[in-house]
């Protein structure tokens, strides 16, 4: 058997490693900034681009796709080559993947603060960037699968399975959730509306957590933890069971994000059942990771790399225990919309993803640079600082979440809400917000320790861009059945790429045509009094989306007495049929807005946007004074109406030509009404449109 000599590509691994380090720090810095802003709204410095509601999506996207994303690619490019005993399939694709991904990150960092957003959580980026993501992601997939095909090791180690599942599922999720009809270069409307949009979105977002933050990192755990501990995984058999059980269950759990909403009850129950089942494979995986260290716990005491990994796996276990618990309706009734969710996701992000990434970096960088880690002591310090940061982050957030959840539901003996003022429940937990911002800063400080340590390590060593290895070529012992089916030579040599490419081609083409027609029928309103938005309301809604109001305000009143007392009639699925995209939100830092229409006079909203504290003393909402000075851009109103018509919104035929007149008429009415309240506002400002939208919210089913 001929032994072949080949080189592993270390440069691409190094590039992704640096990217994850740098973007990680940037993403967390934005996180720390918004953690301060949540109780000191003036920290936006009066600039729209640095306001909480625009930065929060930037923070989540940066941490998920820039920090964890580059972390995944770093680990995959290192481990896949070695597990397959092969160089990456194509150096050109590797480079395209790396630079393409960085371009996506930079364009996200520019467009999100500028207000270009679809407002679907973790899928906020507008359609041109969505297309770029799909292209770069498929390039990654081709590169990975090409490497697997030309592998010199017949057995595919379990980590590879996790990587394949990541690629395949994220492709499907991204395509389905991003089907939008463009209005202009940076504005589009999702084809789904209301409750359907919510379901698709949370099917996506849940599985983004599952297949972007979890499965690839489990693959990395199964590679780097045994490597760092220098002993095999506790049970290889369990790891295989872990993988297959996890992927078959995970994809059905999405509806647990929409418990007690207007989503049909049976879908909610389906989500709950699968979520609870998820405990089994998740904990199997966690125990498999921890038990790998059996007989080596003495080394954990001294080796910071193992410390990082052990706490990461423990955090995985805690988060995957908590997730199913939060998916139980009675727990969710208390936890949803509160900081409990924020605590939960940060145990996952800071603990599982963060610490595992740090552990891998400390292990990997010295190997890439053919040297030793500059300081074990500094790495140890980083470990303790990071752990402390997580504790100072998570505990106050759990405390805040439960406190606020209980306060929302508290009634007096006479049957009135104990805390009818929403603001009271926010001010109660401000001390917790303060501690959280300190916790986040501590965690970020730890990263600076790592920066210095890795910098000194890199300085001391020299990058080994090519690492030579030897392995015998793989000889096909078993003639596969595929060969008999596909007799053509070209197909035989590339069956997997061929299948994947055709699946993607068929999905994209088919979906674009089929999905809208499929959905339009179901968009016929079931509540006859629910009308489409007027042109001015539509423009106001787009401003609501642009400013990211959904990051703090929900539009979904759950059927609890505590909520109907506070906000009004509970929300019904039929009320959202014209909402492209839905704006249900997932967190109430401010009150729910679904029934805010007609609750306050127009002038109240005007003054509230100009200076929230003038209407609501002590308010922590940032001011939005630019809405008052900005002229409303109505250039695209005809196009917007046409897209809505395409999506089945029943505007009369030819209404696009009439929209501008209607818009101006409604705007001058609102300006008139403001004038009678002593507010002198011009009718062509953005605030007028926003007021029109807010006053429209939730009034369709109210008696006139």
């Amino acid at each position: 058997m001929a032994v072949e000599t080949f080189n592993y590509d270390n440069r691409i691994v190094r590039n992704f490693a640096l990217a994850t380090t740098i973007w990680g720090a940037v993403g967390m810095l934005v996180g720390v900034l918004i953690a301060f802003q949540i109780y000191l709204p003036a920290l936006n410095f009066g600039i729209p681009y640095t306001t909480f509601s625009r930065l929060r999506p930037l923070h989540t996207n940066a941490v998920i796709f820039a920090f964890v994303g580059n972390g995944i690619f770093m680990g995959v490019y290192y481990s896949l080559q070695r597990l397959c005993k092969a160089r990456m399939f194509s150096d050109a694709l590797s480079r395209f993947h790396f630079w393409g991904w960085q371009v996506i990150i930079v364009s996200a960092a520019l467009t999100l603060p500028l207000g270009f957003t679809v407002s679907k959580e973790y899928a906020e980026l507008e359609w041109p960037i969505d297309i770029l993501i799909a292209i770069v992601w498929v390039a990654f997939g081709i590169n990975m699968i090409g490497t697997i095909i030309k592998r010199r090791e017949r057995h595919m180690y379990v980590a590879i399975w996790f990587y394949i599942a990541t690629f395949f599922t994220i492709t499907i999720l991204h395509i389905f959730n991003s089907i939008e009809i463009p209005v202009s270069f940076m504005k589009s409307y999702p084809v789904y509306a209301g409750v359907q949009d919510a379901l698709v979105q949370w099917w996506y977002a849940h599985n983004a957590v599952a297949f972007f933050l979890t499965t690839p990192y489990l693959g990395l755990m199964y590679y780097f933890l045994p490597k760092a501990a220098d002993r095999p995984v506790y049970s290889y058999r369990l790891s295989i069971v872990h993988f297959w059980a996890l992927i078959f269950i995970y994809i059905w759990a999405g509806p647990h994000h929409l418990l007690y909403t207007a989503l049909p009850d049976w879908i909610q129950s389906l989500g709950t059942v699968f979520s609870v089942m998820l405990i089994a494979p998740s904990w199997g995986g966690m125990l498999n990771g921890l038990l790998t260290l059996r007989g080596a716990w003495d080394r954990v005491r001294e080796d910071p790399i193992l410390k990082f990994m052990v706490v990461a796996v423990t955090a995985y276990g805690m988060a995957t225990f908590e997730g199913p618990m939060l998916s139980i309706k009675s727990v969710n009734a208390l936890s949803h919309y509160t900081d409990w969710t924020i605590a939960h996701v940060h145990v996952g992000a800071l603990g599982w993803n963060g610490l595992l990434t740090f552990g891998i970096l400390y292990w990997l960088i010295p190997r890439l640079y053919n040297t030793r880690l500059y300081s074990t002591r500094l790495a140890n310090a980083h470990f303790w600082i990071a752990t402390l940061g997580i504790i100072f982050y998570a505990i106050p957030m759990y405390w805040a979440g439960i406190t606020q959840g209980l306060m929302w539901k508290e009634f007096t003996a006479d049957g009135y809400l104990q805390y009818p003022l929403f603001l009271e429940t926010v001010l109660q937990i401000v001390p917790m917000y303060v501690i959280r911002s300190i916790g986040g800063s501590i965690y970020l400080l730890g990263m600076l320790f790592m920066f210095y340590n890795l910098y000194k390590t890199i300085k001391a060593g020299k990058l080994q861009p090519e690492e030579s290895a030897q392995a015998p070529a793989l000889i096909d012992e078993r003639p596969s059945k595929l060969k008999l089916i596909f007799n053509h030579h070209w197909l035989e040599s590339r069956p997997v790429q061929f299948i994947i490419l055709s699946v993607i081609a068929v999905s994209v083409g088919g979906l674009v045509e089929i999905v809208p027609t499929f959905l339009i029928k179901s968009n016929i309103p079931t509540i006859t009094s629910v009308r489409p938005y007027t042109p001015l309301e539509l423009e106001g809604r787009d401003i609501y989306v642009r400013e990211g109001c959904y990051t703090c305000h929900s539009q979904m009143i759950r059927p609890f007495r505590s909520e109907t007392e506070r906000y009004g009639e509970y929300s019904k699925a039929g009320e959202f049929v014209f909402d492209h995209p839905f704006q249900w939100g997932s967190k109430r830092t401010g009150p729910d807005l679904h029934r805010v229409g007609r609750k306050y006079p127009d002038a109240w909203h005007y003054n509230h946007m100009l200076e929230p504290e003038s209407m609501s003393p002590g308010s922590l909402m940032p001011a939005f004074p630019w809405l008052i000075s900005n002229d409303l851009n109505t250039d695209h109103i005809a196009g917007k109406i046409r897209v809505m018509q395409q999506l089945g919104v029943p505007y009369p035929a030819g209404y696009d030509g009439q929209a501008q007149d209607d818009l101006e008429r409604q705007a001058s009415n609102i300006a008139e009404s403001l004038k009678t309240s002593g507010v002198d506002a011009s009718a062509d400002k953005e605030i007028i449109a926003l007021i029109a939208y807010l006053q429209r919210l939730g009034i369709d089913i109210q008696p006139e």
Partner: protein, 65 residues
């Protein structure tokens, strides 16, 4: 709620693909050996050996200091 059918179909599509992959993996003998792969992945290419015990070396030095 017709979108539910789309999502179920998409999810089933994913599940069926994984099922096919699983059946292929079982049939082609991927899981016949459930032990040695976990050890084989630990065997290093020669380059790696030199730095294998970085931390151990650092630790020893710390002790000596």
């Amino acid at each position: 709620m017709s979108v539910m059918f789309i999502l179920i179909l998409a999810s089933l599509f994913v599940a069926v693909c994984f099922l096919i992959a699983f059946l292929w993996a079982v049939k082609s003998g991927q899981f016949d050996d459930r032990h040695t792969p976990s050890i084989r992945m630990l065997l290093n290419d020669k380059k790696d050996n030199k730095n294998m015990h970085n931390i151990d070396q650092n630790r020893n030095e710390m002790r000596e200091n």
